[in-house]
Structure formats: structure tokens, C-alpha cells
């Protein structure tokens, strides 16, 4: 079970197989993601869909995708709550998706970086995810599959409004692209709010880790486009990349400020975080996120040298509540989870 779960985060730990090459600016951009919503023209949308429609859509997608892309189809109705939660923690499905009660499923490609949710709010939600700043590579991969499926099913499309979606806020390109950034420098210099306001001015939105309404933790922020209608896909992607690069510049400057003004204080914070992760016997996932934030900063500015960003990425995802249970292949109560999580981390950063 552990290896199956690790397969789902191969996109985050490159060079472990046939995944996409790693994106740029990895020490600041944790990951990039593109999500494209599509509906099949001949089937009613979610709200008017019958059980039989939902079932035949799944069969249809399985038949089409099966011959083209190497991967696995997971039937959500047959999965345990823990396994569904794990897919969410691995960022392969959306929070709303795992709560669906009608027939639904997700196809995941062999590289673990492209998933297709079937019967989400829209019939199909194509998603590509990769580490670092990687939107351009991701988009060609996602649209390659999207187009192939479209040729076979016929998407709901309107000359004026573009691709039609369940919710009017997604119509047009149906595309939402996001970058997930680690900004401890801006948090420290109190510039976060300024940067976020700036993002808002140009039609971008900022959220926490799991999308809409989720809280911001561990200095992690997600930037994505607000509007989906009236833009060309590549222009939208370019705007997000530009904004990301601008924020990267400000973050780098903030990091320089920190290192000139408060180097001792920060070195202390970084190495104390490392020491706790190496020594703890019980640890919550929230605490891990905060300690990892300090450590990621340390690795990024070359203060910590013997730990890689890939390792930190892996720990960040594996130490989440459902994943840690699947990693050890057993159901664990919260207290046991904290103990096992500490054990896993000690091993992972070479303390034992």
C-alpha cells in the first residue's frame, strides 16, 4: 500500500521514473497545476444527470482513455475513505470530488502527474501537476489528452461562451492554472499582503493549500487566475508565470534582507527546526508543516546543505494524516499517527 501511495506523488519527486522534468525555481515554487473543465455535449450536466448517465460516462471515458494513455482508473465508489482522503492529500483530486455520492472515478496516468476526474462538478476535470514552475510543459501534456478525449466524445462548446461548464464561473477556457509558492521572506518582512493585493489588481486570486476557503499555513500560498472567459489559454499562463516571477524576485530580496539583518536569528530557527524533526518522538502534521517551512528556507538559501528539496517535498505530502496511515499500511488513531509520523521523518532525514 505504501508504494501505491508513493506512486501518487511521483510528480513531486522528479527523477524517480518517467515523470516530467522538474520545473524552475523549485526553492520558491513548490508546484504548478493546471485544471481544465469539460462536459460532454450529449449528456446532461451534473445537476440534471441520472445515475445511468453517470455510469455510461465512466464507461465511455475508460474505453477512450484505456487505449491511449497508460495509467489506472480508480472507482471512487469502491474506495475506502482513507484512500480517497489520500488522493486529496496527494493533490490528485479536489476536495469536492471525494464527497460525491453518485458514480465517479479518477484516471491517473503512470507518471502520476495527470489525472482525470470523471463526474466531478463537470463531467471531466483534467488536471496536470508538477513540481517547480512548470505551467507550459504541463499545459501541453494536459491539452494533449483533453483534445484526444474531445475528438472522441464531443465537448459542449459555444462560439460565444467557449467550453460550457456547470458553473458560469468556469466557462470559456474552463482552465484554472495555479502556482503554489513558499514565501517565508515576504511573511517575515510583512510584505505578503501588499503582494497579494497586487495579484488581486490583475485578476489573480490567492488561496491556501487545498484551494477555496482553506487556510494559509507554513508560509505557503497558491496563486491562480480568477477569470476563465475572454483570454487565450497561453496568455493566461504567461500572466501567471510573469506574476510568479515577480513575486520570486521580491521574495529573493526579502530573503537577502533577512540574511543580512537577522542571519543568526534565522540560522538558529532553521537548525532548531531541523533538530526537532530529527529528534521528535511524536509530532502533528501542523507542526511538521511549520518546521518544514523553516527548513525549506534553510535549504533554499544554502544554509542547510545535506537535505534536498525533493526530500522536503516528499515529507510534506507523506506526513499528512491519511498518507501517513497508508504509508505504514495500517489504520492509526491520532496519537499513534503522530508517533509514526515522527518515526518516518527521522528515517527520512537520516537521523537513524
Amino acid at each position: 500500500m505504501a508504494s501505491k501511495m508513493l506512486d501518487n506523488i511521483r510528480w513531486l519527486i522528479p527523477n524517480t521514473g518517467d515523470t516530467l522534468p522538474c520545473g524552475e525555481e523549485m526553492e520558491i515554487i513548490v508546484s504548478s497545476r493546471i485544471r481544465v473543465a469539460r462536459n460532454v455535449d450529449s449528456i446532461p450536466f451534473e445537476i440534471k444527470m441520472k445515475q445511468a448517465d453517470a455510469e455510461s460516462l465512466i464507461a465511455l471515458v475508460k474505453a477512450i482513455i484505456g487505449g491511449k494513455v497508460d495509467g489506472t482508473f480508480l472507482d471512487l465508489t469502491k474506495m475506502k475513505p482513507l484512500e480517497k482522503e489520500s488522493l486529496l492529500e496527494c493533490h490528485l483530486v479536489s476536495p469536492g470530488f471525494i464527497k460525491k455520492e453518485k458514480p465517479s472515478g479518477v484516471f491517473i496516468n503512470r507518471g502520476g502527474n495527470v489525472s482525470i476526474m470523471v463526474n466531478e462538478e463537470d463531467h471531466l476535470r483534467f488536471q496536470g501537476i508538477g513540481c517547480g514552475l512548470n505551467l507550459v510543459n504541463l499545459s501541453s501534456e494536459v491539452f494533449g489528452i483533453e483534445e484526444y478525449v474531445g475528438d472522441n466524445v464531443g465537448y459542449a462548446f459555444d462560439e460565444d461562451y467557449g467550453y460550457l461548464t456547470s458553473c458560469p464561473t468556469n466557462m470559456g477556457t474552463g482552465m484554472r492554472a495555479s502556482v503554489f509558492m513558499h514565501l517565508p521572506g515576504l511573511v517575515f518582512t510583512n510584505e505578503v499582503e501588499k503582494v497579494l493585493k497586487g495579484a488581486l489588481q490583475i485578476g489573480m486570486t490567492v488561496r491556501g493549500i487545498y484551494g477555496e476557503g482553506s487556510e494559509i499555513r507554513g508560509s505557503l500560498f497558491q496563486i491562480s487566475n480568477q477569470h476563465t472567459l475572454g483570454f487565450k489559454e497561453e496568455d493566461l499562463l504567461e500572466r501567471i508565470c510573469k506574476l510568479a516571477k515577480m513575486i520570486i524576485d521580491i521574495e529573493r530580496k526579502a530573503r537577502d534582507v533577512i540574511l543580512t539583518k537577522a542571519r543568526n536569528e534565522f540560522e538558529d530557527k532553521i537548525f532548531r527546526s531541523l533538530a526537532i524533526l530529527k529528534a521528535a518522538r511524536t509530532i502533528s502534521s501542523g507542526e511538521v508543516l511549520n518546521l518544514l517551512s523553516a527548513l525549506r528556507f534553510g535549504v533554499g538559501v544554502d544554509i542547510v546543505k545535506d537535505i534536498t528539496l525533493e526530500t522536503l517535498n516528499e515529507i510534506m505530502i507523506v506526513s499528512r494524516p491519511a498518507n501517513i496511515q497508508l504509508f505504514f499500511g495500517e489504520f492509526l488513531e491520532e496519537q499513534e499517527r503522530d508517533i509514526k509520523r515522527a518515526e518516518y521523518i527521522r528515517k527520512r532525514i537520516g537521523a537513524e
Binding site: P44, G154, C167, M171, G172, M175, L229, G230
Partner: protein
């Protein structure tokens, strides 16, 4: 550079507007920009705009009904979701302003559905029917289904 307005705080926002007869350029601090109303501090999200606009209902809404999925405009305003691909055409004149406000735009210029066929699903259903017909050895039915499939350009069935 100091703010053009208060000449006190450093300018953080650069504002440029090209008018027919002149170009206005301003370098402002955050406070002065917000005083001039140039700074959007709290913008409604597209979803919030949608929810706000859907509250504007009329008695006529019950009478506008999508011919394909039978969703009424009233129902659309209650749930905020379309019922099928025909709904936007049916509700077009009632929702165009809404879409324009949500996206600040009402015309798609991105990728186009190159093969906007409605065939895929039909072909799939016919193939399923064909399979079943062959299973129960109803060869006449099977031949008819094959003919229909051929109309869709499927030759290998």
C-alpha cells in the same frame, strides 16, 4: 521616488491612463492611491458576484425553460448551475450581463473544440447495443445497428 500626492511616503503604485488629449501618469503611495479610489482592496470573487446577481429574480423566470433538460431560468437562479449544454442558448439574453460581470468579458477567444461532434456518445451507445444484440444472437438487429454506425463513419464494427 515620493508619492505625487502627499510628497511624503515612497510611491508604491504607478498609475498611467492614456486619454485622447493627454496621458496621466501618477506615482502614488498606497494610502493616496486608495483615497483616489485607484486601489481595489476588497474585490468580490467571480463566485460572489454570481451569487449576488442570481438573487435578482422575476416572475417571468419560471416561463423560460430549456427545451432539452427542462431547467427553468428560475431553477438556474436557485442552483447557480446549468443543466445541459443547451441552457446557455436558452437563457442567453437573461444571463449575458451576468456572465459579463463575472468574467469582465463575454466572448471566448481561446481554444476551440475542433471536432465539436455529438457523435462520440451516440457511437458508444450503438457499440454497446451491438454487443448486446450479438450476445443474444439477434443478427438482424445487429445488422441495423451496424448500418447506423456506418452512418457515423464507423467501419470496423
Amino acid at each position: 521616488m515620493l508619492c505625487d500626492d502627499c510628497k511624503n511616503k515612497p510611491a508604491a503604485i504607478f498609475f498611467k491612463e492614456v486619454l485622447p488629449d493627454k496621458t496621466i501618469e501618477l506615482h502614488l503611495c498606497e494610502d493616496c492611491a486608495s483615497k483616489r479610489g485607484l486601489l481595489v482592496t476588497k474585490k468580490l470573487t467571480p463566485l460572489e458576484i454570481l451569487q449576488k446577481l442570481l438573487k435578482q429574480t422575476s416572475a417571468q423566470d419560471e416561463k423560460v425553460i430549456c427545451p432539452r433538460c427542462y431547467m427553468s431560468l428560475a431553477e438556474f437562479k436557485r442552483v447557480g448551475r446549468f443543466g445541459c449544454s443547451e441552457c446557455v442558448t436558452t437563457f442567453d439574453e437573461n444571463i449575458r450581463h451576468l456572465i459579463k460581470q463575472i468574467h469582465q468579458n463575454d466572448r471566448h477567444i481561446g481554444r476551440k473544440s475542433t471536432k465539436g461532434t455529438k457523435k462520440g456518445f451516440e457511437v458508444y451507445k450503438l457499440r454497446e447495443e451491438l454487443k448486446k444484440a450479438l450476445e443474444r444472437e439477434a443478427y438482424e438487429d445487429a445488422a441495423k445497428i451496424r448500418d447506423k454506425l456506418r452512418d457515423y463513419g464507423v467501419e470496423d464494427a
